[in-house]
Symmetry: C2
């Protein structure tokens, strides 16, 4: 939860609509705005009955944190944060009302080096997850340059909002939006010529170089590449995409977006630089840059592409199955030894019929079972059964541990 | 978030008061209960303007999950869950409105073996955190036996609620509560005689054995000890505490509570068995047992007792400090090599004055810095500085990596 006042007005008008508000506890009507109540005016009533809201993202709460703790922190300050956020959007495939963001940010430096590092982080994380992605890079300053060249600097936000919808409404849709915003034919022509490819062609670069802000954007992009060239090659593709606007208004420099090259899942990562994030909370001059991973979408994508291995590191390796009470008690002592040896082991909680226990082992997809009956109690040799092949071996507990340690999966 | 109807009525009347409700989005007043609105009746209004609430704990949402997915799950079903929960309590030391619970539960078995395993989990986790704790064990059936012996079985809840307050209001306070509830002198005498020590003395055991439910409770406690005796000894103390009631009404068998032996932090863990948790959602006969760790309290305790090591595994091991632009670029290539070797390394983002970079290294408490200037660029030998001793060595990048790998901390 955050104070609603911390969240309101930070995500644009649409964002405010999507904030979840938490009702004040106790007799909240006793302090409600009487006029709003009488007029049945929901939005006017909110401030008097809900002083808290649910996080919409992790960036604004991070900014609030930076300002609150500015005297205790060392800048440049890096942090990562993995927490749920909430948006009152219509739920649909890949869009949840409650989901986890995984953010990393650096605040207190405008060094382009960090922008290169975030691209490296995207690259490495998705590589380690076994996902092939395209990392898209743009810079707000290029969009500002474009607006200036087109003579619509005063309508920069309207332009970026329109461009941001390119994926959804297509190029013609964007043109219509620009027309609706009352922009001239010439301006629209300039903007749409760049949208044509979205790539940073020499021609486009020349066009944007006509403005100081465009030159600065080109320079920043060039510097990102210089840093990356100094390190090892990326596993994934890095592309330029001038049509990448990302709705959030607080970006001022680089903008990132990550999409899968194997599926049309939409954005699974994003971020950018915000030159004045903490300004709204009274702390000027703190530049920051950060990225965010969308946990659920990445999870959905990995499920869809079957990138989760059947046997994860934490999966159950062996289930102990006891034939009677005495074997069950002995099995519990074995369980303790197995676990202390670092093996993920469980025992079926009762010495019920073996068939039932075996059925449970199958349902849990455990690769091995240890069978303990009267014979095993007498001999001290345990029966290790490979559940895939059906093979069974008589082993001492120590031999069994060694066997399981070398064969995590059958 | 959960449906408010999932949460309401599950935590007693006090719990309902402490639920945070999420205001419906959009024009919520248009569907508000007109009568409640006209009467300015806050609690009557809630259902019509807030259909969702924030989790009060993880157990009730777990029960809801079990019922929803009963046909896909294999029972006994184990899960752990680490998530925030919210309670509209007055915030104070050790009590937060938003905090993380770490829960582990087994559903679908009434085996006492699992109760022993949860004690082992408490024991091992706190041991690994370097905390000394007392694990308190009780059983609701013993409290039921006590109520029966005292002739107040019909007021079992009032009795446990009173006993639950023992820590706060003392024995005299509990007696007064029982008097207020209209219990007879004899009943109060029986109850308070047991409260005297809280220990499960032979005398108390004899008393409780007079009832079938008391005998069952004693038997369950004996069985927990039998299982534990089969495994290795515990690191921490396990005690019986008949005064342990824990407010939550859904417990029916064993009850756990963990307290620090080194600080008066209050409960840092708890749990118990609930024989019919899912019954309220329409699925009968699923017995469960589970435990919960209070993350913030454990964190506070570890801070208070200074149990966090200064250098954690993830802490920065080395900071690269460059004297000029060329050194800065070379430093970035070294950074990449260091990180690929598994060393936590950073580079100061700009080749600013060395004093400023050194101040930053001190503030970050980094054990080593690598200094790169013109000399280092020419010789290819880097200067590794031990920030604690001030010692400085000229090393190749490979030597430097080997040095850092063997000396994680200075």
């Amino acid at each position: 939860m955050e104070s609603l006042s911390t969240l309101t007005g930070k995500y644009g008008e649409e964002g405010d609509q999507l904030l979840f508000k938490v009702l004040n506890n106790g007799d909240f009507l006793s302090k409600a705005d009487e006029k709003a109540l009488q007029n049945r005016n929901s939005s006017a009533l909110i401030p008097s009955i809900a002083r808290r809201g649910l996080r919409y993202d992790l960036t604004v709460p991070f900014a609030r944190f930076l300002v609150m703790h500015q005297n205790e922190l060392t800048f440049p300050f890096k942090r990562y944060q993995i927490q749920p956020v909430w948006r009152a959007d219509r739920p649909q495939k890949g869009r949840y009302q409650e989901f986890y963001q995984c953010d990393a940010d650096v605040a207190g430096s405008d060094s382009i080096l960090y922008e290169a590092e975030f691209i490296q982080i995207f690259d490495q994380v998705f590589h380690e997850l076994g996902l092939s992605v395209e990392i898209r890079l743009n810079n707000r300053k290029l969009l500002a340059g474009l607006a200036e060249v087109a003579g619509i600097s005063d309508r920069m936000t309207a332009m970026t909002v329109a461009i941001d919808k390119l994926d959804k409404i297509g190029k013609d849709g964007v043109v219509r939006e620009l027309e609706k915003a009352g922009m001239s034919k010439e301006a629209i022509y300039t903007v749409s010529s760049v949208l044509q490819t979205g790539r940073l062609s020499e021609e486009t670069a020349d066009l944007l170089s006509q403005t100081a802000i465009g030159r600065k954007g080109l320079e920043e992009i060039r510097e990102v590449h210089e840093w990356l060239a100094l390190a090892g090659p990326l596993h994934n593709t890095l592309t330029h995409d001038l049509t990448l606007a990302r709705g959030l208004n607080y970006y001022t420099g680089c903008i990132f977006e990550v999409v899968s090259t194997e599926s049309s899942m939409g954005s699974i990562g994003g971020g950018g630089r915000y030159d004045d994030l903490t300004g709204v909370f009274g702390l000027k001059g703190v530049s920051g840059v950060g990225i965010s991973f969308g946990a659920e979408r990445i999870y959905d994508l990995m499920e869809q592409l079957e990138r989760f291995s059947e046997h994860t590191q934490d999966a159950l390796q062996v289930l102990i199955i006891a034939f009677d009470q005495a074997a069950h008690q002995f099995g519990f002592t074995c369980l303790d030894t197995l676990r202390k040896a670092g093996i993920h082991a469980e025992i079926y909680p009762e010495p019920v019929k073996v068939r039932k226990q075996m059925k449970y082992a199958d349902a849990r997809r455990v690769p091995f079972t240890v069978l303990i009956g009267e014979e095993e109690l007498t001999s001290g040799q345990l029966s290790l059964k490979n559940m895939r092949t059906g093979e069974q071996h008589a082993l001492s507990l120590n031999q069994l541990i060694n066997h399981l340690k070398t064969k995590a999966t059958p």
